[in-house]
């Protein structure tokens, strides 16, 4: 499954917990929700490119606006925002 870097939203765990508390009783949030840890952050000007490590050890790259910088080492929740991922049926994965 292809997941674009710009379609990934990283939400710090602490912030996620606050949101969950505020939205208690509301409809469940779509897509993703896997916990990961930020292991690298590159400054690209308008954006940061983050490398996050999932529990399996697999890494993902995400690009997000620099307005809110997430520190390396922060535990985050990985969400997928629209547009949604595409699937390629291949045996190479």
């Amino acid at each position: 499954m292809m997941v674009r870097q710009e379609d990934i939203l990283l939400v710090p765990e602490a912030e996620m917990q606050a949101k969950s508390d505020a939205e208690a009783g509301a409809a469940p949030r779509p897509g993703g929700g896997q916990t990961a840890v930020v292991c690298d952050r590159q400054f690209l000007g308008r954006e940061h490119r983050y490398t996050v490590r999932l529990a399996s050890g697999r890494t993902l790259q995400a690009r997000m606006a620099t307005a809110q910088a997430i520190a390396v080492g922060t535990a985050v929740t990985v969400e997928i925002i629209q547009p949604c991922p595409q699937v390629f049926i291949e045996s190479s994965l």
Partner: protein
């Protein structure tokens, strides 16, 4: 004669991908085809795979096509076949309806811009730009003697050469640089002179082989915009080769993504980026993440970061779907 049915010249992936195919056909039907390639094949001796494998495409007047792909994918070979520097083992090249696959480069009406500019260092800017025009004028003299009146009409008169040089230098924004030598110009200016030299004879088609790869990032970004503006203002049909995805997406009207001698996908920049036809295209053009996914239901796929609904679109590819929020 070139094939009447231009659909036959569109890459098969394009025809298979619905909207991409229909848009391509619409554009092709409304313009006149400047370039048509049909079944082009090329294999170098001693190499077990084809450098170019059965490539067909069509390009209309004023359109800018980018051949995009990694090193060794065959994009420069294809450009050289169109220019006449390489001969295909199979297939045909039509330029303005003339079959030219067996014609030498100088008889194809094609301008060329090289990665390293290839300006004559001992000639001024004006003399460099004049080179192609003067060659045409000398040819004109020979043809006059040979009483080739029909061809003569297309070649510039000596008196008009100076005017054309000035016009072309103005087009590339270097009108005040006519007396300078190439070493007195920056890399970006030299490349614009190379473009002016290619455009001066008003060729049917201009081919640009990685024209910005020798330039530093700032110049490259500025020249991207300028190159597109110059080509559009002069209504020049062009093909440029690049391995830079951003460059291709920002300059081209259409992109042919190449891999292993084939066109993997052909379409509008937006289509290539938003709906890559293969994982190769997705990987090369978008640098996306790829996650293993397990099919849980007909349209439900589970990954490490959640479950997503997708709709089957075609062999080897699934259409984007909505995430379910389920784990």
């Amino acid at each position: 004669m070139p094939p009447a049915d231009v659909n036959a010249l569109l890459p098969s992936e394009n025809l298979a991908s619905g909207s991409a195919a229909s848009k391509a056909v619409t554009v092709t039907e409304t313009g006149s085809a400047i370039l048509q390639l049909s079944g082009i094949e090329k294999q170098y001796p001693g190499v077990d795979h084809a450098a170019i494998a059965d490539i067909s495409l069509s390009l209309v007047q004023g359109e800018i096509l980018s051949l995009l792909g990694p090193s060794g994918c065959g994009k420069t070979t294809l450009l050289r076949i169109i220019a006449g520097f390489e001969q295909p083992q199979a297939g045909e090249v039509w330029i303005e309806g003339r079959a030219v696959a067996r014609q030498p480069p100088e008889k194809r009406g094609v301008g060329m811009v090289f990665q390293d500019y290839a300006l004559f260092p001992h000639l001024t800017v004006q003399q460099n730009v004049a080179f192609g025009l003067q060659s045409g004028w000398q040819r004109q003299g020979r043809l006059r003697r040979a009483n080739k009146a029909r061809l003569l009409r297309k070649l510039p008169q000596e008196s008009s050469i100076q005017a054309r040089i000035q016009e072309t230098l103005e087009l590339v924004g270097l009108a005040g640089f006519a007396a300078r030598y190439p070493h007195e110009l920056s890399g970006g200016q030299q490349q614009r002179i190379a473009l002016a030299r290619a455009l001066a004879p008003s060729p049917s088609l201009v081919l640009l082989d990685e024209p910005m790869s020798n330039l530093d990032v700032q110049v490259r970004l500025r020249l991207r915009q300028e190159l597109r503006e110059i080509l559009k203002r002069s209504q020049t049909t062009a093909i440029f080769v690049t391995h830079d995805q951003e460059e291709a997406l920002s300059i081209a009207d259409r992109i042919a993504v190449m891999g292993q001698g084939r066109i993997e996908q052909y379409g509008l920049p937006e289509e290539i980026y938003q709906r890559p036809a293969t994982r190769f295209v997705a990987d090369f053009v978008t640098q996306a993440n790829f996650l293993p996914a397990q099919q849980r239901e007909l349209d439900l796929w589970e990954t490490e970061i959640g479950c997503f609904r997708v709709q089957l679109m075609g062999l080897g590819k699934m259409q984007p779907g909505r995430p379910t929020g389920a784990r």
